[in-house]
Symmetry: C2
Subunit: 203 residues, 2 copies
């Protein structure tokens, strides 16, 4: 997620973000310090403080960075068929996450601090709005194409994000990658049983 | 949840647990100290250290305490009709939680520490197993009574807990009580569309 080869590695900001990612993987959020990020960065703490006043400022920028990358991967979903597109979006949200379990751990720590840190909460909110917009748009398309029932697309998008967030939380708390697969299957069941127009067996 | 009038208030352990609850509500997990718990307890920190060596020991006991209380409220669900019983269990998990949002905040903080603190992870795991057992038992009953489809009850229980945990996480991160209502509706849709045997309109 944070190692896109298309980015210019010479960009100091990009390098600080990568160093933050590695430091988070290694130490987690609670034990993260500017010093540890500087060690990964290979420069002094002053070189980081030149860009960011506090650890929280840096982490807010890091959230922007990974949420931006996540939104780029969502943009790569190119098919316009609503059922296929919804499938691929749910894969991005739940299957791809399996490769970044250590990042999910750090993100749950930051999410748990959202009640205390507005900069975190704002970013999680923005990302959630973005993903829900993508989901509700494709659900609306499916309704118009007659493949989905005439449901409340806004609610259906929230329902799917509830399943996504549940799977991610459980994967971290129980150290159980299978929680993501369970959530993916639950989302599939929701799409098939609640959203999809029933196929008549009598043709 | 932590103010059951049936308990003996004179029990020092019970009083420490209640003090911990109030301190968590006021300061959250990250800023919780034995000193702050002692202030709520109205005694010295030594009086707490007499019972608990460390803050983490005390918090593990606190998790036992609230999970025990939660399990007691689940036991109060007396109806044996599978559909009604499943409904009431989901209400306990998602509707009753609305009265304890500040506790949900502290619990999400502790959940996010589960990867680092085995004592926390064990307790969350035990509680999850307990609730999933309650859910899968009632789903199995419904299958035997012919009101639920012949689904994998183990998976269905995990699916419902994914929705429960998603709703709770979102309620905390987005400071949004409505996330619990959305999750309750999603669970209802799952029960109706995936579990319940379709009522034939032609009957």
């Amino acid at each position: 997620m944070a190692d896109s080869p298309n980015r210019t590695a010479a960009d100091p900001n990009e390098e600080i973000m990568r160093a933050t990612y590695r430091a988070l993987q290694e130490h987690g959020y609670a034990d993260l310090t500017i010093k540890r990020i500087a060690e990964e960065y290979g420069k002094s703490t002053a070189a980081i403080h030149y860009h960011y006043d506090t650890k929280d400022d840096l982490l807010a920028a890091f959230l922007d960075y990974i949420l931006d990358q996540f939104q780029n991967t969502v943009h790569e979903v190119e098919t316009t068929d609503p059922e296929q597109r919804l499938d691929l979006l749910l894969d991005k949200l739940l299957v791809d996450a399996q490769d970044h379990l250590d990042l999910l751990v750090a993100i749950l720590e930051m999410r748990s601090q959202a009640p205390y840190k507005e900069a975190f909460r704002e970013r999680f909110q923005q990302n959630d709005e973005y993903v829900r917009y993508m989901l509700s748009t494709v659900i609306d398309q499916g309704i118009q194409n007659g493949v989905f029932n005439d449901v409340d697309a806004e609610h259906a998008a929230r329902a799917l994000m509830t399943i996504v967030d549940g799977g991610r939380t459980r994967a971290v708390v129980f150290d159980e990658e299978a929680s993501l697969a369970t959530a993916r299957q639950t989302a599939e069941e929701y799409v098939t049983a609640v959203l999809a127009v029933e196929q008549s067996g009598d043709g």
